[in-house]
Point group: C3
């Protein structure tokens, strides 16, 4: 075991910690009456991802390829331990955390009106089919010595801006279309209402946790510890910072009666998502550009969603979908010639665009099919009355914390 | 200094971070009126552990053995710096974090009705005597080239399921017996009431922090960085995931009007505790089995405690006591023959069982003696009136945060 | 890339995580009506530090020295990638996190009555001028082979107790003098009122995060991974623990009607700040002494500030200013002769004292000038009415979370 393995393992632990970041971020952005439901759901989602991805998804993604479409060995981690100079289990551990990130994003966007069980079924399809197959096309050669056809075409996605984040973003988009907006999202006059934000400081904590974890996400994706790591981490940080600048400026230009609060969050996270594609192929100034543009894109995408009457409770579609797509395409614009791999810049842009479109068709299409099927069979949404009551009580019968809350209030009146 | 030292140090930092995880977890599970008291207490407890364990406990645990019963040099870290190829201070730092974990668990279970000072005195005995002595019998050979008699018998406890978690769990059990249940835990008709849960999302954050830290707990326990680390971390993760499945299924079978919320927490943490014994000696499928069974055991143990009228505010006894014992024994059932060390499986099971029973007798017995003595001398419990008021105010005179709260409420009425 | 680079990178990630720690700590200590403002401000502050420090501050701090006063190359990170055996970007990443720590401290102390925009302008000066210039005088030789005149005189500041923490503390002192106390801090009879403490458990989480991050702060400052790391981390931990003891004892002696709560926080953080100067030059017993005395100093400094009518919302001046100064001077008292570098202990004490005084004159003087200028031009403070309403609403128009809160209260009344 070498220093490379150590770096991958530490990075994987950091990426695992994204689960904590998403919990804080999502809980902070939604209504109090649903926070318990969302928080617990995040644990269950990771449990499902662990079992489904390790036993099935990993084999589809990194196993020996059949016609370039899907992998086909390492089922249930068989024959893995001896593989690849003992990298085997280390690599599974690392990749599991990436799958965990993709899956957890989806439930956030649909929260506050979607039942728990249908979401968990969607997790299974996402971790066991949608995510690993697209991943196979781009990353199949990371573990096994074989071709990954999309990568062979020249598609570049260093740490998963498209593979992880866009996939999650477009499945989320399908989900919020099928499940519909939260009932109070638009008032009787069609004016949008802001809901939730039960605990913004908690969301800030979540954002810093995610930012921290991203150093593992991008840095670890080298799969070795070499002299590019410093640059990658600096790029990651620059893009997050520039994302905030881009998002704040866009907000001040395009949004009346704006609060900069949302811009700060979506700029930072949009910048982090976007640089995921190219943190290894850019220099700091280009990373700043990528982050800045991603910040602009995320704010505009949020506006677009609102215009279309779509309701994304935590901004997953603008941040992960649009942010990831922007970063993947911008990479072709900004990367030095040496990383174009012999293609002209125009060709590289078209290749990146194709990969992004293919990802959209795949993830959004299957997402629609999946959520539509679930809706027509199991049902997807809570009743109006349940939505009013809140999912804390509906899903987890959480009346005890209300009792605690009441007692606190009672005591206060005596003071 | 080698890559091994780096891995131990990073792992130790992760294990330190468990302190943050326990704070969030405990605060989330108890009543608002006690959260400040518990949170501050966690800092003080770690302060005491630092001083007592490093200056005394470490010497008893890892010093040169007297009759196999206790160590007897390195008092106050003397002669340590030059010891063991400069591993000295690194090893103390690592082991301190393990002691810190053991000690912090106990105060959680007894919270909401126990005075601060008696708990701190108990910390001193735990960090300076109960924990290091049992630890000496199992781990004395980890640092000094000498025999650890329980390990010589064949007792296996890789990262401390028994040494750390059971010890803490059984001392907790003694504590909750002596201090008695919280006054509102059973109503006038003898029906159990759920108390607290002031902030479940905070508890979820705590659970993810603990999960993250556990990668250091188990991974670092190798005391080197070799090709088993990947497997150990995967096993750790599998057991946590399977623990949730086991606990949720058990809950749905055995508990009427159940909420799955508690099952998710205790399953994940129970799985993590259980795999601590054998993460280095199992393969993923066996880790799944260990976690699953631990999830079952923890839920049943919780029911048992309720039947017995025992009140554990944060589930420390079921999770750390029963979970740790289950994992230690299951290890003998599931480990491949190569790790049986020449013993037959039956013998190994009996050895593991003996080690677990000895630990119970030692930790529970001394725990009873300690808390009984404290109760009869200093007193252990707050008055009924103080319990009603809450320990925030009783222990830390926290009236300011109430004032802040009142002002907030006042402002709201003006809106 | 070697194990040294890996250690620096992991440490830098830990130090970045201090941002999360400061958010939790500050949010916990202030009034609810300002928590959103402070939390978001922490993100923006780090964004500004990233851009200003990397593009300008780093060049001033570590570039080729002009007359020993300031550095003058590496502007905008030019010519950095090839520098120093590929340490270049790694080192910038590491140093950025230190600058981020210094800058974020200042805004905390002035919070609850200072406008956002003036604070951000102060961030620019701090990250781009005040911090890097003093840093140049002490640390200019860390990256480029040249003299750092203050270090040449024998001034020792291993990881920045003076360079980072005192600088931040004294600029904070200037800030709270110029902006004045919060309007409700003293009542009509001149009696001090405690304000805020909206969420003490969150502040405890922040404290543990900071403690964790400090292992990277001090450990990483070696800039290599050698056999001193274990000792450095142990010293760091001892000093924090002893700081709590010192602060609690001082509180019980000097403060009537005391609550130990504040002592626990300021003792731990004061101990961590103080040991930053000498964690590499002391042994555990001396680290305990440094921490203990720092705990005493921080509590007395808090009392002094109150006597002087100064209002520091989060204790930044006592902890970072006085704590850092104490640690820097105590180092000269306690370090073994071998680290005195040929100076007598008396001379060393005088040198340390001189460096601390120079730092005070520089940081406090420029801080006064800066905040005075801002006050006279842009204005620094919100109106009384705005201060009453709280900065959540004033700066970020956060009415939505109030609405969520109201709905929660409404539901509760129906229960």
């Amino acid at each position: 075991m070498s220093i490379n393995h150590l770096w991958i393992i530490v990075s994987a632990c950091f990426v695992f910690f994204m689960q904590a970041g998403f919990v804080c971020y999502e809980v902070g952005f939604i209504q109090s009456k649903n926070v318990i439901s969302v928080a617990i759901e995040n644990i269950i989602t990771f449990v499902i991802t662990t079992l489904v991805y390790c036993f099935i998804g990993f084999a589809l993604m990194f196993g020996k390829s059949h016609w370039g479409l899907f992998g086909g060995n390492f089922w249930f981690l068989n024959n893995l331990s001896q593989a690849h100079n003992s990298l085997g289990f280390v690599f599974v551990f690392f990749e599991l955390m990436f799958a965990g990130t993709a899956v957890t994003i989806v439930s956030g966007s649909m929260t506050e009106r979607t039942r728990l069980l249908p979401l968990l079924i969607a997790d299974v399809f996402l971790a066991g089919f949608i995510y690993p197959l697209y991943g196979h096309w781009v990353w199949a050669d990371m573990f096994t010595n074989q071709s990954a056809w999309l990568k062979q075409l020249g598609f570049m996605d260093f740490a998963g801006a498209t593979v992880v984040h866009c996939t999650a973003g477009w499945v989320s988009l399908a989900g919020i279309i099928i499940v519909g907006p939260r009932k109070d999202k638009w008032d009787d006059h069609g004016r949008i209402k802001k809901l939730g934000r039960s605990n913004i400081p908690f969301a800030v904590l979540g954002t810093f946790i995610l930012w921290f974890s991203w150093f593992g996400f991008n840095g670890g994706s080298l799969l070795e510890f070499n002299d590019r790591v410093g640059l990658i981490l600096l790029n990651t940080n620059f893009s997050a910072a520039a994302g905030v600048v881009g998002a704040v400026l866009t907000t001040s230009v395009f949004i009346k009666n704006h609060s900069y609060m949302e811009a700060v969050f979506s700029g930072a996270l949009g910048g982090l998502v976007a640089i995921t594609a190219g943190s290894n192929y850019l220099y700091p100034f280009q990373a700043v550009m990528v982050g800045f543009i991603a910040g602009v894109v995320v704010v505009l995408a949020s506006l677009l969603l609102e215009k279309l009457g779509l309701d994304d409770a935590v901004g997953a579609v603008p941040i992960h979908g649009f942010g990831g797509a922007a970063g993947t395409i911008l990479l072709a614009l900004f990367t030095p010639v040496e990383f174009l791999g012999g293609q002209t810049r125009i060709v590289k842009i078209l290749v990146q665009l194709s990969g992004v479109i293919l990802n959209f068709v795949w993830a959004f299409g299957l997402g629609l099919l999946m959520f539509y099927t679930i809706k027509k069979t199991l049902g997807l949404r809570v009743t109006e009355e349940e939505e009013d009551k809140g999912l804390n009580i509906v899903e987890f019968a959480d009346i005890y914390s209300w009792q605690d809350y009441l007692k606190m209030t009672h005591y206060e009146n005596l003071t």
